[in-house]
């Protein structure tokens, strides 16, 4: 966060507001005036709803048969229910996995792909032997702008167990029919399927990483060469530290996105959690509590747990940053 505001002249502190000279007071008034669209929007669409969600989580608000039950204060009841909710926590093998466990299990596959694939592609795009760099760069980025519903159906078509090209190719290579992957309907293949369906989303990460790689000063590479560093040593000691802020940024966004993942299972497996509850992601479970079960208070409780988990993960991530993320201007 610090590096976002660094390099700007420090504004005066809030304490001196009253004894500000007229010019500074006008600056404050004008500045706040220009920020007001965002401040008002932030209050109405973010801060007040967040507080309301917190209040809902201490109440019992449900709609049964289209009628709102009279809301009442129930203290920590929803949180106690949450602690005992098997549908969230269950990690036992050979049973329907809990929504949080589903999310984490998927993340163990999706996160490495989401970081390393764009990084490898960016390195390939930066390869000095590659002809037509700008063509390849924009073609690998291009699917990023395809609406996700369409890209899910495109990959879903290619991966269709009966009519898709991938299984046709596997069959022509001699894989017997019973051994063909069932992809989105197959409990062992559904996570790889989702990862493949999300592969077109890497364009943005690839371009930011590429911009990072290209902004590494060439004299650093020259210095590494003089020191006799090999290709891997150069990457590890020069390129990686220099692009670590970009990787850190993409990793943070990916983890935050992971905990909110639900649109793909909603569209591909109709939000049912099929096959075998493997796609009942945490955020999907949350939305079902609200939109299907019309249980606002339990949905709000799940939302606050989600918020706290994301906050905690972000804090942990930011606290590890000083061990591996390198900001050039901070270490002159």
């Amino acid at each position: 966060m610090e590096q976002l505001v660094r390099g700007l002249p420090k504004p005066p502190s809030l304490k001196t507001l009253r004894e500000m000279p007229p010019l500074a007071r006008r600056e404050f008034r004008n500045g706040m005036l220009f920020l007001s669209p965002w401040i008002i929007g932030f209050l109405i669409f973010t801060l007040i709803p967040m507080v309301a969600t917190l209040i809902f989580s201490f109440m019992d608000i449900k709609i049964t048969d289209g009628v709102l039950n009279p809301p009442r204060f129930v203290g920590l009841d929803n949180y106690i229910k949450l602690i005992h909710d098997n549908a969230v926590w269950n990690m036992r093998p050979n049973s329907t996995p809990g929504a949080l466990w589903v999310t984490i299990r998927f993340g163990l596959i999706a996160l490495p792909v989401g970081i390393f694939l764009p990084l490898l592609l960016a390195l390939l795009m930066n390869n000095k032997y590659l002809k037509g760099q700008s063509f390849f760069r924009s073609m690998f980025y291009m699917p990023y702008i395809i609406p996700f519903v369409a890209s899910v159906f495109l990959w879903g078509g290619v991966l269709n167990p009966e009519t898709g090209w991938v299984n046709r190719i596997l069959m022509s290579m001699g894989v017997p029919y019973e051994k063909l992957p069932g992809w989105a309907n197959d409990i062992n293949w559904v996570y790889p399927t989702y990862v493949i369906m999300g592969i077109w989303g890497i364009g943005n990460a690839m371009l930011t990483m590429l911009a990072g790689i290209q902004s590494v000063p060439t004299d650093l590479y020259d210095a590494a060469k003089v020191d006799g560093a090999g290709k891997f040593a150069t990457f590890w000691n020069v390129t990686f530290p220099m692009i670590s802020p970009v990787i850190f940024y993409n990793l943070t966004l990916s983890i935050v996105g992971l905990f909110q993942y639900f649109l793909v299972p909603l569209v591909v497996n109709a939000g049912t959690g099929r096959p075998g509850g493997a796609t009942m992601f945490y955020n999907l479970y949350l939305y079902k509590q609200f939109f299907t079960n019309q249980n606002m208070s339990y949905g709000s409780t799940l939302a606050w747990l989600l918020f706290l988990v994301i906050l905690l993960v972000t804090i942990v991530l930011f606290s590890t940053a000083r061990f591996w993320v390198y900001y050039a201007s901070e270490n002159p």
């Binding site: 809030l14 220009f34 920020l35 709803p49 002809k131 890209s151 898709g164 911009a211």
Partner: protein
């Protein structure tokens, strides 16, 4: 001298080899990466039979047949090898009158290859007639299993799949809805984010940096933590089932676009706005006549990103317009369509093409601005 030239030439050859290898590898990777587009186009032009039949080509192809009109009514007796044993087979050609016979590309003993119509097929030998001369005697072909023969496929696209989807999801209306959504929210985003970004980049006042950090943190805030009261509130004031819950919030600035514009505004020199200020121009005047005219690349970048975002948006329209199918944008309509025609890939792929075509055109028309926009935001990270 010669030695040096030879060495130089060797280095050059090595370089060209490396370039050829790396470029070919990347091209192969790209082909796999973009393969679903090819699948989409080819599948959207097929009939259900063309999709399911085994061994059919990947392009939409008609299964070639020949209709025998009974030009020959004789009866023939053949000695046929039916999987090891010779059996007598009686073929009465009049039985086949009016029947559609499958065509195969048959290599004949005389070295020629002809398209023949199958009358009776077995594991080792089969009986064909010549469609060019149907009155002639049937031919006993002894070249092996007829199913291993290739077939003379005819390229035959089914364009009516598009017409069907166009009608079924009321495509013109969905397209208009999407366009309307993208257009109105782009106005909202541009007006509000330019104003707020100007506030963050051109004024110095206490609390500004704190507010900026709050703005950036909203990128990491899960939508779930605000959606329940917001949805309930919009239900109470009767906005659910209208465009308002989707359009109105766009007029209150969002973190991504404000950030992009602020980064760009900060790169603009202060001299011009200071000069304008000396001339007594108001801040709003400075924004409209000094900052905005210098910021077209960033403004276009925000516009194209936002239009793509609006075209992609699914969840907002889904929850607020679920009762009003006539107001839904294409992505919601496509997902609903999939619920009905999930087993008919040709319709789904045609619908997907109709959903992605506009953003795709926009991308190729405004490529430069997409890359630029990412670079603007990418620099500081």
């Amino acid at each position: 001298m010669d030695v040096m030239n030879a060495t130089l030439r060797r280095i050059k050859i090595k370089k060209n080899l490396n370039a050829a290898f790396v470029t070919a590898f990347t091209a192969a990777l790209l082909a796999i990466y973009l393969m679903p587009f090819v699948y989409m186009i080819l599948t959207s032009l097929k009939t259900p039979t063309q999709i399911t039949i085994m061994g059919s080509p990947i392009y939409p192809a008609d299964i070639p047949t020949f209709t025998f009109n009974g030009e020959n009514t004789n009866t023939y007796t053949f000695q046929v090898n039916r999987g090891g044993t010779l059996t007598e087979l009686v073929i009465d050609m009049s039985d086949y009158a009016g029947k559609r016979l499958d065509l195969y590309t048959v290599p004949l003993p005389d070295g020629t290859t002809r398209n023949l119509a199958l009358v009776a097929g077995f594991q080792r030998e089969s009986i064909f007639i010549d469609p060019e001369n149907p009155a002639a005697d049937p031919i006993l072909w002894t070249g092996g299993y007829y199913k291993s023969l290739s077939r003379p496929w005819i390229f035959s696209p089914t364009w009516s799949n598009y017409a069907r989807v166009w009608r079924d999801i009321d495509y013109p209306r969905m397209l208009w809805n999407t366009f309307f959504y993208a257009f109105t929210t782009t106005i909202g985003v541009l007006v509000s984010c330019i104003i707020v970004a100007f506030g963050f980049s051109r004024f110095r006042f206490p609390g500004r940096d704190f507010l900026f950090i709050v703005l950036i943190s909203t990128i990491f805030l899960p939508g779930a933590v605000t959606v329940i009261p917001t949805f309930t509130f919009f239900t109470q004031i009767g906005w659910v089932g209208t465009w308002l819950p989707l359009i109105v919030p766009s007029f209150f600035a969002n973190a991504y676009d404000t950030f992009l514009l602020r980064q760009y505004f900060m790169t603009l020199p202060h001299e011009l706005d200071e000069a304008a200020m000396m001339d007594g121009a108001s801040p709003l005047r400075i924004l409209t006549s000094v900052i905005i005219p210098q910021s077209y690349p960033a403004i276009v970048a925000v516009t194209v990103f936002h239009v793509v975002w609006a075209w992609n948006d699914y969840f907002g329209p889904l929850i607020y317009l679920s009762t009003r199918m006539d107001l839904q944008p294409v992505s919601v309509a496509l997902a609903r369509f999939n619920g009905i025609y999930g087993q008919q890939p040709q319709y789904i792929q045609a619908g997907a093409l109709m959903t992605l075509i506009i953003p795709l055109i926009l991308f190729f028309a405004a490529q430069r601005f997409f890359v630029q926009g990412i670079v603007i935001t990418g620099v500081e990270k």
